[in-house]
């Protein structure tokens, strides 16, 4: 227990280094460029302390919970030896974590607004909500399928760069064919899909799979799941824009 707290204290100090750049940038621009005093300095200090404690707890939680959990799941599925269950799990993890992702909900609402203004859909509340919900389902399905494809790649040992290059070529082709209003939204949707709790789990799952399957290298085969999850939504949203 004692050791536990010593470790936490060390982590707390480490977070100082992680957060120093933000504090410096904001202070320099506020005082040096905009030449304004800091409003509510007390709030800022309380906030900064919360950020430090939060980050230290999160990192502790990574090492204790999220990483071992992801690797244990990978090991358990490999021991079970059923590819179908592994892929079902991958889809559920991708779809389930994305469909309720707050960043995606926010972007989908903004995207519906943009689409209504651009005349892609009728400018009515019902049409906007429908568009936003469809967009969320499309992105969540894309992330689910991305993890399925990514997990299958690790199991089979296919090299990742063919997929990524083919995916980018597809994005380029679809960009030319899709309506201009959807392009920015599609590109951004790839970035918002991977939440902070999902990323460590998915990374540990990939590395865990690569470790337990014979002939796979944890570094070259284990990473890449997150890349699939960022690329496939772009393809799907561009295609969605052409259908709507």
């Amino acid at each position: 227990m004692h050791q536990h707290f010593a470790g936490l204290a060390r982590l707390l100090l480490g977070t100082l280094r992680d957060l120093a750049p933000i504090v410096i940038v904001i202070a320099v621009f506020q005082l040096g460029v905009l030449r304004q005093p800091f409003p509510d300095l007390g709030d800022i200090i309380v906030g900064a302390i919360l950020v430090m404690i939060g980050l230290a707890l999160f990192i502790q939680g990574l090492e204790m919970g999220l990483f071992p959990l992801g690797e244990a799941m990978a090991g358990a599925f490999a021991a079970k030896g059923s590819l179908a269950w592994l892929l079902a799990f991958a889809f559920a993890l991708g779809f389930g974590t994305t469909v309720a992702e707050p960043a995606l909900i926010a972007i989908a609402a903004e995207a519906a607004e943009a689409a209504a203004q651009a005349g892609m859909i009728a400018d009515r509340a019902a049409a906007r909500t429908g568009f936003a919900d469809d967009l969320r389902l499309v992105v969540a399905t894309a992330v689910g399928l991305a993890l399925v494809l990514g997990a299958l790649r690790i199991v089979k040992g296919w090299p990742i760069h063919y997929f990524i290059i083919a995916g980018y070529l597809l994005v380029v082709l679809l960009t030319m064919a899709a309506p201009a209003g959807i392009v920015g939204i599609a590109y951004d949707s790839g970035g918002v899909t991977t939440s902070t709790v999902t990323v460590p789990l998915v990374a540990a799952l990939g590395v865990g799979l690569a470790r337990v399957i014979k002939g796979r290298n944890a570094l070259t085969d284990g990473f890449g799941l997150i890349a699939f999850a960022s690329l496939l939504p772009i393809v799907f949203v561009l295609a969605f824009g052409m259908v709507v």
Binding site: V23, L55, S82, A92, T97, P102, I160, H161, V172, T175
Partner: protein
């Protein structure tokens, strides 16, 4: 206590966010695996740490840094208009600098990037330095966001930049050291998360709103795409540079050895 209220709210929203993950994990555990994982108590505590930590982290950011950062993004673009009535793209130098600085700083603090770089350090047996990886990614986000702001100011089309960026990524993929490629692709996806997205989006929307002829809804999007594309380039670039330095060092060592050999032969 307002802060405690906010922590409670943040905690409940974070719990709601992770609920689907917990349902999927427990569901598959019960239906498919039916085998107790090792150390379930410790894992559950760790999971709780991560969730509570994330909630505190978000409240702190919302309390301390986000309001200020958002306000600054707006004020800095106003600064360009204060100097000149119709500023050209050069008059937005402060914006580009702020974009680069805030892109770098928020990426260093990004929890999912910390997670992936810790994992990469562990998996590579120390060959990949987590801190070096994070700096390479942060440099990528910094240049991406700065270029994205330049694009909003000039109003040039987004696909042009993204397609050019993809071309660079494809070429680098063919020549960069093989081991780094999947990791580099992953960093593109993890950079844009809890810390970076809110500030960068605010910057894009504020900038697009303050420039005549730009629509926040159409031109405000796209900064996140820049922030996820450029880290791939810088991470592969960093690996290429390290490999090149290692080659040069190896060649130098070989030459030194050969010189010593010839010296010895001469003496004999």
């Amino acid at each position: 206590m307002e802060v405690i209220d906010r922590i409670a709210t943040a905690l409940s929203t974070t719990l709601l966010d992770v609920l689907p993950i917990v349902v999927v994990l427990i569901g598959f555990q019960l239906v498919a695996l039916r085998r107790r994982p090792p150390n379930p108590r410790r894992m559950a505590i760790g999971f709780a740490y991560a969730v509570v930590g994330l909630a505190l982290f978000l409240v702190g950011l919302e309390e301390a840094l986000f309001p200020l950062g958002r306000a600054m993004a707006g004020q800095l673009s106003a600064l360009a208009f204060a100097v000149q009535a119709s500023p050209g793209w050069r008059d937005f130098a402060w914006i580009y600098l702020f974009a680069a600085a805030i892109g770098f700083a928020t990426t260093i603090a990004e929890p999912s990037l910390i997670a992936v770089s810790l994992k990469a350090g562990e998996v590579s047996g120390g060959a990949i330095d987590p801190w070096g990886l994070r700096i390479a990614v942060a440099v990528g986000v910094a240049s991406g966001v700065a270029l994205g702001c330049f694009r909003i100011v000039t109003g040039t089309p987004l696909p042009f930049y993204i397609i050019a960026g993809y071309a660079v990524v494809i070429v680098q993929t063919m020549v960069a050291p093989r081991a780094i490629v999947p990791l580099a692709y992953d960093t593109g996806g993890v950079t844009t998360s809890t810390v970076t997205v809110p500030l960068v989006t605010a910057l894009g929307l504020g900038l697009a709103a303050s420039i005549p002829g730009r629509s926040p809804l159409i031109d405000g999007f796209g900064l996140i795409a820049f922030a996820s594309l450029f880290p791939m380039i810088t991470v592969m670039g960093y690996a290429q540079w390290s490999a090149w330095r290692a080659r040069v060092a190896a060649r130098k060592r070989k030459e030194m050895a050969r010189k010593e050999m010839t010296l010895k032969e001469d003496r004999q």
